[in-house]
């Protein structure tokens, strides 16, 4: 005796099925990340043993000079590269949004191109250029390379905010006697600050996590953290990696949280 399956219950079953699938996907997405964090507290590299929680790996970390040096290097690199990218990217966004010229689609394509060209190609291409121009690899080449990779993100964020900018504020400023330069300084830039800071945070994050390019543009002395971790993963797999990974995750997600906070504060005023 089969129960009558009404249309409504069929819909409800479909919904439940959908929820299950979506839930499974989210579990799949979070599983590795959670595993890394848990493993960073475990004695064994691949066993999550809840009875033996340890902070050994973190202690190792904070005394491991090469890793700390790489971490410091990454942060320095991130700050410098994002400063450069934010400056260039904001200029590009202003030109793109405010400029009255033809060929904007081509310009957009040019500015966003680094996003669709495979990273490996950008990596070796710049390597070739550095060698041809005899620029020694190190912080400089890393800053240059990262800025190219980060630029599209900055352009996207700043121009999105700029599109919605209330131009009557700038007109009012002009009407009240402000030269274009002063209007920029007193009105436009201060009101664009949240977007620019947001872009800077994202820029830092992208630089901090950048692997492929860094592998080709760094040296064994000047290397950011991801490069060090990559070689560790390939050659000597120590349990420390989970702790390093967790630290990296914390920094990245901290930056992201800061970004969200700025967004929420901007929306509420």
């Amino acid at each position: 005796m089969s129960p009558r399956i009404t249309r409504r219950s069929r819909g409800a079953r479909a919904r439940t099925a959908l929820r299950l699938v979506v839930g499974a996907v989210y579990v799949f997405l979070f599983l590795p990340i959670v595993a890394v964090v848990l493993l960073s507290f475990s004695e064994n590299i691949s066993v999550i043993d809840f009875r033996h929680f340890t902070l050994r790996w973190y202690q190792h970390l904070f005394t491991d000079e090469p890793i700390l040096a790489a971490l410091r290097f990454s942060i320095e690199l991130g700050v410098l590269a994002s400063a450069l990218a934010v400056t260039l990217g904001s200029l590009a966004a202003f030109g793109l949004v405010r400029g009255r010229m033809r060929g904007k689609t081509a310009l957009q394509a040019a500015l966003y191109a680094p996003l669709v060209v495979p990273e490996i190609i950008i990596a070796i291409a710049l390597l070739i250029l550095f060698v041809l121009l005899r620029i020694p690899r190190g912080m400089i080449t890393l800053i240059v390379g990262h800025s190219v990779l980060i630029l599209p993100y900055v352009v996207s964020i700043v121009s999105a905010r700029l599109y919605g900018f209330d131009r009557s504020l700038e007109e009012a400023a002009a009407n009240l006697g402000a030269t274009p330069a002063r209007a920029l300084r007193e009105i436009t830039l201060p009101l664009m600050m949240p977007a620019i800071v947001g872009a800077a945070l994202i820029a830092f994050k992208v630089s901090f996590d950048e692997v492929v390019g860094s592998i080709f543009w760094a040296t064994s002395r000047d290397q950011p953290l991801p490069v060090l971790v990559f070689s560790m993963l390939q050659y000597e797999l120590t349990p420390e990696v989970n702790a390093i990974g967790t630290v990296m995750l914390t920094i990245t997600l901290g930056v992201l949280a800061a970004y969200q906070l700025i967004e929420w504060r901007r929306r509420s005023t």
């Binding site: 249309r7 069929r10 479909a14 959908l18 699938v21 979506v22 996907v25 989210y26 979070f30 590795p32 990340i33 890394v36 691949s46 066993v47 260039l88 990217g89 200029l91 590009a92 030109g95 793109l96 405010r98 400029g99 009255r100 310009l107 957009q108 394509a109 040019a110 966003y112 191109a113 680094p114 996003l115 669709v116 495979p118 990273e119 490996i120 190609i121 070796i124 291409a125 710049l126 070739i128 250029l129 240059v144 800025s147 599209p152 352009v155 996207s156 964020i157 994050k205 996590d209 692997v211 492929v212 971790v229 990559f230 797999l237 990974g245 990296m248 995750l249 997600l253 992201l256 969200q260």
Partner: protein
């Protein structure tokens, strides 16, 4: 009569970033192009010319042909699997979830923005013979010997799908979000079941987003380097790994450049086709 005030200087603002990209993005690409026609001399020097020897070598060598085909195959499988898994999520986010939408979005961003290194080496810990998954299956008695889940194509596919799901979800979600709900209601009103409404209304209208997501996923998978390096083996090398080998081990830069041009050529071909069919501006929005 009187002079018109000078028009706003859009080009002045665009000049520095465009110049920067010109020197540090366009110029290197040209350099790669030039290198691909050069030859590596014994002893390491590079002689520039118009030799097509590098390209010929790619075409003649089984290793490079197979690697290209393998990369294509992996990219296709990854794109298909990612699409299958991501579409429901995008659908749910855009059309079903109500109060949870914001939370789910934020939750999606967390794995998206986590470092690819962390995500990949997590799978090492999970898929290894003595890793989390095998231990669990052994403990549960579902298997007798550990499954070979690591350092093969399966691991690479899993790793890539894991990384690329958000790239597929976002464009599809963006399109579905903008879908006029009333279209679905109208379909229901005219008597179609939810399934038919989906197949005939939602799915077709979401295709541009699907295409953008699929293209992005495919390009990222096809050119991926880290994941096959960490989760694969010599038998699962992809194009990017070969390129890296040329530059950092074999030091045959001209040949590496030729390989890169092949990869770039395929990607550009895809982009051109996509632009013809749908338009590249969708892709920029998807890629951010």
């Amino acid at each position: 009569m009187t002079s018109r005030p000078a028009p706003p200087t859009g080009w002045a603002a665009l000049a520095p970033p465009l110049a920067w990209l010109g020197v540090f993005f366009l110029l290197p690409m040209i350099a790669v192009f030039a290198y691909s026609f050069a030859l590596r001399m014994p002893g390491g020097a590079v002689m520039f010319g118009f030799a097509t020897a590098n390209y010929a070598r790619i075409g003649e060598s089984a290793l490079y042909l197979w690697t290209t085909l393998r990369s294509l195959r992996i990219a296709v499988v990854v794109t298909a699997a990612t699409l299958l898994v991501s579409y429901p999520v995008a659908y749910y986010l855009a059309l079903v979830a109500a109060r949870w939408r914001l939370a789910l979005f934020v939750l999606l961003i967390v794995p998206w923005w986590s470092s690819i290194l962390v995500k990949n080496f997590a799978w090492v810990a999970l898929l290894a013979d003595s890793g989390v998954i095998n231990r669990l299956l052994l403990q549960l008695g579902l298997i007798d010997h550990p499954l070979k889940l690591l350092y093969n194509e399966i691991a690479v596919v899993i790793g890539l799908v894991h990384v690329l799901i958000p790239f597929m979800v976002m464009p599809i979600n963006a399109v579905l979000e903008r879908l006029d709900r009333r279209l679905i209601e109208a379909a229901a009103n005219l008597g179609s079941s939810p399934l038919r409404a989906f197949l005939e209304v939602v799915l077709p209208l979401s295709l541009p987003g699907v295409a953008a997501g699929a293209l992005l996923t495919f390009i990222l998978a096809f050119g991926s380097f880290i994941t096959p390096a960490l989760l694969g083996s010599e038998r699962t090398l992809m194009i990017a790994n070969l390129i890296q080998a040329q530059f950092m081990e074999a030091f045959d830069w001209p040949f590496g450049a030729a390989l890169s041009m092949v990869l770039l050529g395929l990607v550009l071909a895809l982009l051109v086709v996509f632009n013809r069919l749908i338009g590249l501006d969708r892709l920029w929005k998807a890629a951010r």
